[in-house]
Symmetry: C2
Subunit: 904 residues, 2 copies
């Protein structure tokens, strides 16, 4: 006996989503819940996979089971497939386990031919309706199933409309539509090489095959690669009895959500278009009503819809997005699925549903993505201003929401101009047909990026996400004319210099400015609730990287539990200190150097006091000086230019004593800078290497830290300094520095007559440090993974050089799945991190291990940090809330087996 | 019952070396062989260790056992310890498991006091002899046991000599010596704070304690740290009956070797000084006789010595270095040990002993160090010219042989002058009191380095070994006067500019030039034999790195079995090609670039043909282009200077059209170079990254390789090209390049109508490559560890920047044990190499894995390569013989459990 390939809707359900796909499972679930679903059935995803295994043949028994199911539908509807007198018409729809928008459209009205057409006309008493349905069917079948170029049909249709002087499609009468049908059939034959199939079974067979084929279509494969969806899931095929919303004013079609997808408010939200089919809504020919109007127009249908809506939301425990059709007063549900929503709505719905007792706190945590939290904390368009802009007709088009955030600025059409204006302080939106590495310098200064072509993995999208800038990509509705420096969209013209606004979170593009909102966490009531629940379940601590008291305060407000990285070199760069720093570096003797350091000491002490005060009661990790010293000096090449200039001038002005003096001075400086210059400063004389050979700098820093800590302790504050050594590669380096730190700390505490508990630890940012973690753990009480540098060394990539020159090109070409500086490379960098943690814990079980690279704020990387058992992640203050959520999700996923369930 | 801490010589033997130390074991072995050894005993190394465990107290029973053994010696000699009528005198000598020269001197004549002194005088009928022995004893005991500054005794002695008008020590009569004794006792009391101990037992107790203490003396600890000798071995203490070589003309003392330690010739070789004690030989007061003269003077003693010598060599199966004393016509053997020897002698002795049936080939292999082979293959002083120089009185002094090799050049006293002259082509020997990192630029150009201070781990020694330059360090006999720019040595003056010669292999310093010999491997008969035996046992292949046919030929002559690394970029730098390379890099269009590549193709093809011809029948690994392209262009800072100069000139010469044109040209070039510039080129856009994004360069190179291979194959040659991809960090990069290589190779072979077997593989020089080796092995048929870059990335160190700036300082300070660019860092770099090999072999068991970094020629690193199971090492042609021996030693050591037994 053949395997079961086909399931009636009454046989399936939500639990069979893998087998029936999302759409099929939803239709089955609704059918079994007694909701009005047009009769139909689903061909399984297994059948799809078998089809490809079989060398593109239907698996044994599938077609027979399809015919059997069709008989069943005939019984239920009383209609017959191919019967001229009472024809059964069906729609054929793909449906994978997860929604893959744009992978494959629907074929409607399947089963029509010259005979059944007449039956439909008679039955509906509307010949025009029947011919309109037929021409739509030929067009859809031709385009979707047989790959006839869609514009061929569109052009022919336009021609006939002109011929008949029709403004709208609905202006065409029966005769004109007959002409359209004939012309469409001609086009079909011309491209396919055979007549349009009149046998409904042949139509069905081909449509099913086409849905299967679409699974390995280029767009679908690209989409799956991008989102990491396995290629062996396959798609199901749904065959559904046609119902018609275009049978008059008692018919119609609509889409509705159980809550407002923009705000999350608990109201029935949606649109309804009377006397129309679903595709008419999409085509935007008429403006649909708001769903509330249905209440007046068809109160019974509205009541029924409200009940269905409540039932479905309770049933699925999530906000639903439903498609429905009303055929002559009768409501039919055509689809239900979890509804897409804005970040704000996602948070509100999740929190409200907990309050309503529908889901648990843990489930709520899994319903919101860290990226959504990110959106909420970034400037975004004021929803009302956006509505207003739409009302004013300033909405232009919608592209792909390629990188979140909102931006307003002047449209600029090339990267050089963008860079020039951007550097002058102009807010610029870079508008390009598509971008390439040649445009990166312009993207760097632009507030946002808008492209005409390209998808979610296009250069523009990848780079923009990398830079954290809003981007709307693949906005095909706009037509860019680079020579005239403008774009046109739906008849409107936007010239270079005109203000436009783009919403990278939604893909919307507007002309003119839109007010943006600077969010305040303390006002985001639902988000605060969600984050507090996250704090209850997460195992990872969330700390922040902050060099200044102001950043530390921000971090603490956002919930940071410590400072994971306070860099001290930024303090050296401040203009009032740089001259002293120069003096220190260029000193000829140890005494000179010490004199400069003595001047720096009180300044650094005040810096540390500021941070300690803000973080009172929480740990603060201070990293000793990290960069090579020449970074504080004038650049070599600038000095070369200055010296060259002075030398040449002296040739022409031989007796200019002032020039001579300046030359001598610059030459002396050049010699010193030349001696300190490095071929690869990233791997040079910096961090602990400096500390071992020039210990006096570190000694000053440790003294400043400890004096600050002691003085505040005497004021009654609780201060927890942790002193961190950078660039260590060898345990002996740590041993030497530990002696220096302990000795200096002891001296200061003796002088001050107070004891401060401090910790000694190290960055792990060099592979060798991770590879010899056991040795390191003998000296260090804490480790902090510097994954920026660790990625540079493990990957052999200089980030400064790589991102523009080849790394983004690599992501674009699919050589690497993601920019490893954004998302931790688990195979390489992650692997030695894991080794490091395990071996360090063997030597010192209570060692405190965290991460302070940028990955500390990246959700996927945070998940990995949870998996390998870090104690905390430290990220930029702005990303602290994101990290709190991501850490909770990691805990729920890996400790409690919960799955993320996020609809964006 | 107490443990046995003391062994009579008759109880011990060679097998107890760990317990009795080298000297004790040798004395015991000789005693048991019936040779004339003065009666004595050994206190064990365990006693020493227990002493320190006990808080510096003799272990229980040790002193009692010592006294018992002393009684035994009294019985054997008929003398009594402390007996005024027939006193037993002893020497007390340290003796660890391995020889640690200079750790602790010997105390002679122990047992003397005012009473036994009289007995000795009576017994020898020589009062002067007795007082001389007594003053020597006080001096030795004071200096060595009680740490009285030696110069105090020397000064007092000189004063008394002046007072008595004595030229030589022997000119002093009894009265004078009595005065010396009194003065020495006064000095002793002044420094020690108590009288010189007259109780012989007290003398013995203290001397034993002092020997134990010397084990943890600073020099001994430093020595052990440097040579990696464990600190828990401890030292034994030997108590030996005194015999006197200074009892008249029928007495004497000498040192003899069983073979010539300079040439390895099988003759009794040594020196003899009549009427003298051992220390007189060292003091160089009289010139000793050659040992042959003993044949005439004391034929019986000579005969006996020859017999003893033969017996000991057969017994120990190695060339022996023996100390003996003749007391009134009777021969006493005081020590035997394996004799130190020159590199040439080491090889000859090992090979001769195999021929003589004394040792096996395998044992012979373990008797020679790879460093000795290295010495034999480097220029060295002609032994005859050296003898001649000595005869001419040009020998100046002997320092520490800190880095091998010989050099002649002018003495220069500061690094700046050395650099200046060196760059002009002068041969310079840099002479410094000691060196510091500030001198490195001078050391880089010097032919050799000579320092007055500092040991084997001094900056000069470490840097010189690192640079492979000869160095004599710590030559305290020379006195440098930097202000007068000269040094004096034994009354001679050497001024800046004078020619000197240094032998870093022996530590000898000469004035004037000495002829050097360029060795030829084919003439080194014994070495050839030894290497051929090495080839029989080694498991590692030995390949060579060579970019040019001439180097490849050298390598093949030295025994290389393949080319492990042929770099292609050197070919790009040749002056006739560089313009085409510029054209290729600066091309504005793909067509332009392709045109340049088309010009390079035939040139590269000829390069490869040259190498393939020389290596006919053997594999040749060719690495595709590696460095970033900007390395081929003019330097950024040079262009900045040129452009600046032109701009300023134009200010003064506003209408100079030529200047304007040149400026425009240079500015255009500067823009391009600026765009390609990198912050850290080592981690930049190079290697496979270039190959992925600019595939046309690699495609040209692969075509050149395959066309060369095909054309030679058609000529009947056997060609085995292996194409290697550099800088890979991600398996997808390999996948892309494999497609490029296979496709290009297929095309060429089709065009040429011939098939060539080639391999595709990759460098492993980025940590991530090693960490994802399993993935890599899916595409690569071979791996080659690029341990230079791998060390840079694993250690986070840029070699160019690090060596001068901090790495050598690190070695000097003991932060790291060795320069990781010389000797593979097993803990870090080695660890991921091991992981890489294991995981690659799991995926592709027959994968060919080698190493082509400089470590491939370093013996310790070669041993590690053997341990982790590489297939071959590839090194510079010059080091191929060294690698052959090192590989054999690794195999014998790790597969057959043989130990290295090398005396240098």
């Amino acid at each position: 006996m053949a395997k079961k390939w086909v399931y009636m809707f009454s046989e399936g359900g939500e639990s069979m989503r893998d087998l029936l796909g999302g759409k099929g499972a939803g239709l089955a679930e609704m059918t079994r819940a007694g909701l009005p679903v047009p009769p139909g059935f689903t061909i399984t995803t297994e059948a799809c996979n078998e089809y490809f295994k079989n060398g593109r043949k239907f698996p044994e028994g599938m077609w027979e089971q399809t015919l059997e199911a069709l008989r069943e539908v005939e019984k239920m509807t009383g209609k017959k497939f191919g019967d001229p007198s009472n024809p059964l018409l069906v729609s054929v729809r793909s449906g994978a386990k997860v929604s893959m928008p744009g992978m494959m459209d629907t074929v409607l009205n399947l089963g029509l031919n010259e005979e059944t057409l007449q039956g439909l006309a008679k039955l509906t008493q509307n010949e025009r309706f029947a011919y309109d349905a037929y021409r739509r069917f030929i067009q859809m079948f031709g385009r979707i199933v047989m790959k006839v170029p869609g514009e061929k049909f569109d052009e022919a249709f336009e021609k006939i409309k002109q011929k008949y002087g029709a403004q709208k499609d609905t202006d065409l009468g029966v005769e004109a539509l007959k002409e359209v049908v004939a012309e469409f059939k001609r086009i079909y034959k011309e491209h396919v090489g055979e007549d349009f199939p009149s046998d409904p079974y042949e139509q069905l067979r081909r449509a099913i095959g086409a849905v299967f084929e679409s699974w390995f279509g280029k767009r679908a494969v690209d989409y799956r690669n991008y989102y990491g969806i396995p290629h062996d899931w396959g798609t199901a095929v749904n065959i559904v009895t046609m119902v018609f919303g275009n049978m008059g004013d008692d018919s119609g079609t609509g889409v509705t959500f159980t809550r407002d997808p923009a705000t999350g408010e608990k109201i029935l939200w949606g649109e309804y278009l009377p006397n129309a089919q679903g595709e008419d809504v999409v085509a935007g020919i008429r403006t649909p009503y708001k769903i509330e109007e249905l209440k007046e127009k068809m109160p019974e249908v509205y009541e029924q819809l409200v009940k269905v809506s409540e039932l479905l939301e309770r049933h699925y425990k999530d906000m639903q997005d439903m498609e429905f059709t009303v055929e002559r007063g009768k409501l039919w549900m055509l689809q239900t699925r979890a509804g897409k929503r804005t970040a704000k709505a996602a948070v509100k719905i999740a929190v409200d549903m907990v309050k309503e007792g529908i889901i648990s706190k843990e489930e709520a945590i899994m319903r919101v993505t860290p990226e959504q939290v990110d959106q909420l904390l970034h400037p975004r368009f004021d929803e009302k201003a956006k509505e207003q802009a739409k009302a004013e007709g300033r909405y232009l088009a919608k592209g792909l929401n390629a990188s979140p955030g909102a931006a307003t600025g002047i449209a600029v059409f090339d990267a050089d101009t963008a860079e020039e204006l951007g550097k002058k302080g102009e807010s610029v939106i870079l508008v390009r047909p598509e971008t390439s590495p040649d445009d990166v310098h312009g993207m760097l200064v632009a507030k946002g990026i808008l492209t005409q072509h390209g998808g979610a993995t296009s250069h523009a999208a990848v780079v923009a996400r990398g830079l954290g800038k809003p981007c709307v990509a693949g906005c095909e509705a706009i037509h860019i004319d680079l020579t005239r420096r403008l774009f046109t969209v739906n008849g409107k013209v936007v010239k270079e210099g005109d203000i436009i606004s783009i919403d990278g979170s939604t893909g919307e593009v507007f002309v003119g400015p839109i007010t943006t909102i600077e969010p305040k966490l303390e006002e985001e009531e639902e988000l605060l609730a969600l984050l507090s629940w996250a704090d209850e379940v997460r195992r990872l601590g969330v700390w922040a990287n902050a060099d200044y008291p102001k950043d530390a305060r921000q971090a603490r407000n956002f919930g940071a539990e410590g400072i994971g990285l306070c860099r001290t070199e930024h303090m050296f760069f401040e203009p009032d200190r740089l001259p002293i720093v120069h003096q220190m570096i260029l000193a000829e003797t140890l005494e000179e150097r010490q004199a400069a350091l003595d001047k720096l000491l009180p300044i650094q002490k005040e810096d540390f006091k500021g941070i300690f005060r803000v973080m009172e009661g929480l740990p603060v990790i201070i990293r000793l000086i990290d960069p090579p010293l020449h970074e504080f000096l004038p650049k070599y090449e600038d000095l070369v230019a200055e010296v060259t200039e002075l030398r040449v001038r002296l040739e022409y002005e031989k007796d200019n004593a002032e020039l001579k003096a300046r030359l001598a001075e610059k030459e002396a400086l050049l010699r010193k800078v030349a001696a300190m210059r490095e071929a690869n400063p990233m791997l040079g004389f910096r961090g602990v290497r400096l500390g071992v050979l020039w210990p006096e700098i570190n000694r000053m820093q440790v003294r400043a830290i400890m004096e600050a800590a002691c003085e505040l302790t005497k004021e009654g504050l609780r201060v927890y300094p942790e002193i961190m050594i950078p660039v260590t590669a060898n345990a002996n380096e740590l041993k030497i520095l530990k002696e220096l730190v302990d000795e200096t700390a002891r001296k200061v505490m003796e002088e001050q007559g107070v004891t401060v508990k401090y910790k000694f630890g190290t960055m792990i940012e060099i592979p060798r440090a991770a590879l010899t973690a056991g040795e390191f753990a003998r000296y260090a009480e804490f480790f902090s993974f510097g994954t920026n540098d660790l990625t540079q060394t493990v990957y052999g990539i200089s980030r400064d050089d790589a991102e523009g020159k080849f790394l983004l090109a690599y992501v674009e070409k699919g050589v690497i799945p993601a920019n490893p500086f954004q998302t931790l490379d688990r195979e390489g960098v992650g692997r030695i991190m894991k080794m490091c943690v395990e071996e360090a814990r063997q030597v010192r079980p209570d060692i405190e291990i965290g991460i302070c690279g940028e990955h500390g704020g990246d959700p996927a990387s945070i998940e990995f940090c949870h998996i390998i058992g870090l104690n905390y992640v430290s990220c930029s203050p702005f990303r602290v809330p994101i990290a709190r959520l991501a850490a909770a999700q990691a805990a729920l996923q890996h400790e409690y087996g919960l799955k993320k369930k996020v609809i964006v």
